[in-house]
């Protein structure tokens, strides 16, 4: 039982597949829609406007401090919907399983996905499972697609909507997720007490929208970090952005890991943080509301959108009073000694 594994039979559509669906998928994801086990889920959205997104997750290791690939796959899609001012409602799940994956690991991941979906208030309505030969996938890959209802009625929330004078608020410390993954990496042998920040943020965003906080743009700083999404917003909106280095919350352990490996924390991935760009007059209200929540208690105002620009750039005011550009990076950061 302990060492039972996924085999090609589990993906072949026969009895083994049925057992997998019944004993794992249906058992944990059970709901009225999914249990019908039709070819497609028929949904009644009752919405003027919907948002839809898809994302695939290939992270290794699949279990890490503070989360796992399952939790990540739900949060990633939920947060992308929330970033558009949508209330996530339905999720689909596509699983690609490598032959040899331990069934007990799959079970852990599925339980985690259900727990996270419940926390976010979303229902898993459809899914698919495939099995590939050993070596053709790294244990498990997950795709999730999400649908949500736009609840920000006042204005369109979009990366292209950031305006001069808007305030930038980050919902908490940056870099936690990537450092939590790095410490698992073979060869680095770093002992550090840190957890991934993987978390669903839709409820804290909904709190802001319910309280009529005027939000122009939102993005979650995943791959490429805070610097990358600020650049994307700056480019999309045609504006310059300026942030204050001393205001950005970064844990001391994250700073230390960055110092040791030569990384820049502004480019580290986060999976439970949101950058919110709101009207200046609403910054205090937004901050207060965020700080009253579990996932936003360390929120900080870190800067503002300055002027419209034909060559948008993101400028960092350094703690010594200097200025530098936060550029768009070419690729992943590599540990360095120089």
């Amino acid at each position: 039982m302990e060492n039972e594994i996924i085999t090609l039979a589990h993906g072949s559509g026969g009895n083994a597949s049925l057992k997998l669906i019944n004993n794992y998928i249906k058992k944990y994801f059970s709901n009225k829609v999914l249990n019908k086990m039709e070819d497609a889920a028929v949904l009644d959205l009752k919405a003027k406007k919907i948002a839809m997104t898809t994302d695939s997750f290939v992270i290794s290791p699949i279990f890490f401090a503070g989360g796992d690939i399952g939790r990540l796959s739900i949060c990633g899609t939920v947060n992308d919907l929330a970033a558009m001012g949508a209330r996530p409602i339905y999720i689909t799940v596509g699983l690609i399983l490598e032959e040899g994956l331990l069934l007990k690991d799959l079970e852990k991941i599925i339980i985690s996905m259900k727990k996270t979906a419940d926390e976010a208030g979303v229902i898993i309505v459809a899914g698919d499972t495939k099995v590939v030969n050993r070596g053709k996938a790294d244990k498990i890959f997950i795709n999730t697609t999400g649908i949500g209802k736009i609840i920000s009625n006042k204005n369109e929330i979009s990366s292209s909507n950031a305006k001069s004078g808007d305030s930038l608020i980050i919902t908490g410390s940056i870099g936690d997720h990537e450092v939590a993954i790095l410490k698992e990496r073979e060869g680095l042998e770093l002992k550090v007490k840190i957890c991934s920040d993987t978390a669903p943020l839709n409820k804290i965003i909904e709190k802001l929208l319910k309280n009529k906080v005027w939000i122009d743009a939102m993005r979650d700083p995943t791959r490429g970090g805070l610097a990358t999404i600020m650049n994307e917003i700056a480019l999309s909106s045609g504006v310059d952005i300026e942030i204050d280095e001393s205001k950005v919350p970064i844990k001391a352990t994250v700073v230390s890991v960055c110092d040791i490996l030569g990384f820049d924390p502004f480019y580290l991935a986060n999976e439970g943080k949101m950058l919110i760009i709101c009207h200046k007059s609403h910054e205090k209200k937004a901050l207060k509301l965020l700080r009253s929540t579990k996932y936003g208690r360390n929120a900080q105002i870190i800067g503002r959108v300055t002027e419209k620009s034909s060559k948008p750039q993101v400028v960092l005011k350094t703690r010594i009073g200097g200025e530098r550009i936060l550029f768009i990076t070419e690729g992943e950061q590599l540990p360095r000694i120089c």
């Binding site: 001393s246 030569g262 750039q313 350094t318 200025e323 530098r324 550029f327 590599l334 360095r336 120089c338």
Partner: protein, 359 residues
């Protein structure tokens, strides 16, 4: 303003007060690539008095490694049963035709290590393969690799090798001082190299050329204080070596590290990319440890196709003849995404610092 900001402002004010007495612009060279990056990351260039001109020097080991050495490493990677172990800095540096990163993508066994000891551990784990560590670095790094070679010898490890491309810092400083095309009024000397070699070796330069030389730490406050000390010396017509980074650097340096280096290495003439051959500016393995030299083991020769990219002015940038922005290729043909020279892609490259950080 919080307490830290007020402190930093006082330090900057002190720099301005010292610089107010200057009768002309002075050129201060920050030798070390880590200083170039620190200056850019803290945005110091723009807030310093305009009479202070900071010139970036050749202290970026990746930048000064000639292109044929990169090509040799790439050719090594193609040999069956060879694992290339390298610090991350080298992965994206352009060789004549390829990079280590691209070679890794096509299946060559190239592994990034954090420490030289990790490379030795790789050799132990892979007894059927030969592990070659790319030996890039100045005197901060070369003693750590020397220690690893000594350990490998102790263990009688037969499948661990080093490709020695080490450089030392004092000879290029002297070469630049005797170059009539640049006027250098002071040096911001490398703090971590000096932790190893001490302040003593700089005395030869300051005695001969009467140029201020301050050994600096890497925090913004360290750099500002060091710049102030250089200006003060200049204003008093002094040219001596001072240690700003006292918490780490002593006059004699780390004698144990120096002893190990003397045992494992011998000084040789070395080719600096864009500068040329500088006498006694490199380190090769001594006779006793020659068997660990990858060049000897694999009979490595410079590939016939090796050649410097056309139009690359890295050498002029490294010597401080021009700023990156003055290079005609800068940000046009040469960007971090498609670098022509090492200065643009190296984690400490002057061109990379200007491109990425400077407004």
């Amino acid at each position: 303003m919080n307490y830290m900001k007020k402190q930093n402002k006082s330090l900057l004010d002190a720099v301005f007060a010292e610089a107010a007495v200057l009768k002309r612009q002075i050129n201060i060279m920050e030798v070390c690539g880590t200083h170039t990056m620190a200056i850019s990351r803290h945005g110091l260039r723009r807030i310093l008095p305009c009479k202070i001109n900071l010139i970036s020097g050749p202290g970026c080991p990746v930048c000064v490694t000639p292109i044929d050495e990169i090509d040799k490493a790439i050719e090594l990677a193609k040999i069956q049963n060879v694992i290339i172990a390298t610090f991350g800095d080298m992965m994206r540096v352009p060789g004549t035709k390829s990079t280590l990163s691209k070679q890794k993508s096509v299946g060559r066994d190239i592994r990034i290590v954090y420490s030289a000891f990790d490379a030795l551990a790789l050799a132990k784990k892979n007894m059927d393969k030969n592990v070659v560590l790319l030996g890039i670095g100045f005197e901060t790094t070369s003693p750590t690799i020397a220690l690893t070679i000594v350990e490998a010898a102790k263990r009688k490890t037969k499948n661990f090798f080093v490709l020695p491309e080490f450089k030392v810092v004092i000879p290029p400083m002297e070469a630049l001082l005797s170059d009539k095309d640049i006027r250098l009024d002071g040096f911001l000397a490398p703090g971590h190299v000096s932790a190893i070699i001490g302040a003593k070796p700089y005395k030869y330069i300051t005695d001969k050329y009467k140029v201020p030389c301050v050994i600096s730490g890497f925090e913004a406050e360290d750099v500002l204080q060091s710049i102030m000390m250089i200006i003060r010396q200049f204003n008093h017509n002094e040219g001596k070596v001072e240690i700003q980074y006292k918490r780490v650097v002593t006059y004699k340096g780390n004698l144990r590290a120096q002893q190990i280096m003397k045992k494992v290495y011998k000084t040789v003439d070395s080719n600096w990319r864009g500068i040329g051959i500088i006498h006694d500016s490199g380190l090769a393995l001594s006779e006793k440890y020659r068997d660990f030299d990858a060049t000897k083991k694999f009979n490595l020769k410079t590939p016939k196709y090796s050649k410097e990219p056309l139009g690359c002015r890295c050498g002029d940038v490294l010597k401080g003849y021009m700023t990156p922005k003055q290079c005609p290729l800068f940000s046009k043909k040469c960007t971090p995404a498609s670098p022509v020279g090492a200065c643009m892609v190296s984690s400490e490259g002057t061109c990379a610092a200007y491109y990425k950080y400077d407004i």
